[in-house]
Symmetry: C2
Subunit: 310 residues, 2 copies
């Protein structure tokens, strides 16, 4: 089993209207709302790929109830801890010409006096899981070392840990040496902390040094350009299949889902990177974030190229 | 008792941010959410003025549960019919410089096969009420003559009817001859249907003719300029107290609340118009829509001037 953890679960809501005009009263033509947050997206993709997954996380209020009910309706097993306040809404106002304006609510504040409950939940699920995936930002109220503490709890329970976050949560989380981290290029640059990496050569060098310095496996996703992975002193260049992308949002989460699923199934590293790449590309073919069709993944699998660099 | 009816109940949500910029990702600094819709606003003001009220209406989904729970928390008795779908959110994005961008969700579609249930609810509450107040727009799925049919149900049960709506819902609702209608100047002009009313003299003339033509009591609210009322061939000019308005949104609903409460208590017409005017002014002193402090209303009461025109 795989457990994904979304400490800052959300409702991803989209408003369709002709054009957002500031200072006016406007009627929204169509509203869609789905449970979101990076770990929930990853859980959905793992489900769609036939994997055994539980979406864990922290929610609040009626929005939290909506998230739980929607996960149930989508057939995604979940174990959510409920705190006070309303789970945040991430609102995407989408104009007819494709322009997107995003408004992100702050979300509820995690009450530190209940941190023990969270650790217990993660420990209990980790005990049944091969892999625990921690994804996304930390809600207000949780300290920057939260992922380090939860990584330790998951590992004590016998699970491997994937950490997909950024900023201080990633830098502090690294101290517990998760098995994998999956920053994008910008997040990696920030973590590596030696200024702009001017080309792929610089990026490759930083990855090899970083994997050694931090003692973790690293995969850096590069959007439509694929990814680079540094594992045990070796480096892999991953080139995705060429596709006509509809919506790349969530492709990073689909990548994590594929890699976690391959690891849980004991697949070889290159096959795991291939599955991750195909899942990320399949996600971009769907208008929904964190959503793949299994037949797309299967069709794209042989088209992903994994090259081991010298 | 007074029953207010909000067929298109909503959550009035406000996002505070420095400035709404289209095409960007922005973090919302503060979110507030309160139950809204014109009838719910009126019910809140009736409560705050010490009146006996039930807020009736139609809600859906988790947003509907939020509305019900918030009414309970605010001490407003309510009887809500739940339909499929999510109650709409009326989102006000408020920039620091006071600029407001409103995005109104469409809300759920009322299933006509359940119209009988709605009529029963209104009839049952009207049987315990002196006055039933119908406020606001009709949700999708309900025909334009809905307020006429509900007015008949309320009247058969022995209640007087206030109708505060606009457009086709008002024009069709009028056929059942509610006791009062309360359009604003623009809504009245549209209903009267003889083109722009160029000055107050034209407005006065249209009111006297309209009250006779439609066979109802009419009060036309004029924002900060007060109101005009046409009742049984007589005309009243209502001048509000001078105040430093903070937020006039909801003052029309507070006006309706004051007038309905005065009627339910058997107060004289001029005293009712005075209470309505003071409630509307007190609402404008509060940042929240549909919210008055009783001491403000009492202080403002003697400052409202009601003049009977010749």
């Amino acid at each position: 089993m795989i457990t994904t953890v979304t400490l800052n679960a959300a409702i991803d809501k989209t408003y369709a209207l002709d054009a957002l005009r500031t200072g006016r009263v406007q009627r929204v033509r169509r509203v869609t709302a789905v449970p979101g947050g990076k770990g929930i997206n990853a859980a959905r993709v793992i489900c769609q790929l036939g994997g055994d997954v539980v979406a864990a996380g922290v929610v609040g209020g009626y929005n939290g109830q909506f998230i739980a009910a929607s996960l149930t309706a989508q057939g995604i097993p979940h174990e959510l801890m409920t705190i006070e306040g309303e789970s945040r809404i991430c609102l995407n106002v989408l104009d007819d010409d494709g322009r997107s304006t995003e408004l992100l609510e702050p979300g509820p504040v995690f009450p530190m006096e209940r941190f023990g409950e969270l650790v217990s939940l993660i420990g209990r699920l980790a005990g049944r899981s091969r892999i625990v995936v921690f994804s996304g930002s930390l809600p207000a109220g949780l300290p920057a070392d939260t992922y380090a503490r939860l990584t330790e709890a998951a590992r004590q329970a016998g699970a491997a840990v994937f950490l997909d976050t950024s900023g201080a949560a990633l830098a502090e989380g690294l101290r517990a040496k998760p098995d994998w981290i999956k920053p994008n290029a910008e997040e990696w640059e920030q973590l590596y902390g030696e200024g702009p990496l001017k080309d792929e050569e610089a990026l490759v060098a930083s990855l090899l040094r970083g994997a050694e310095r931090f003692g973790v496996r690293i995969v850096v996703t590069l959007g439509a350009d694929g990814a680079l992975a540094a594992v045990c002193g070796e480096l892999y260049r991953i080139r995705p299949p060429r596709i006509d992308a509809v919506n790349p949002v969530g492709s990073g989460d689909a990548f994590t889902a594929g890699l976690a699923l391959a690891s849980a199934r004991g697949m070889r590293l290159v096959d795991g990177l291939r599955l991750a790449t195909a899942a990320a590309a399949a996600n971009a073919l769907s208008p929904s974030a964190g959503h793949v069709r299994r037949e797309d993944v299967e069709r794209l699998l042989p088209l992903a190229a994994i090259e081991r660099l010298a």
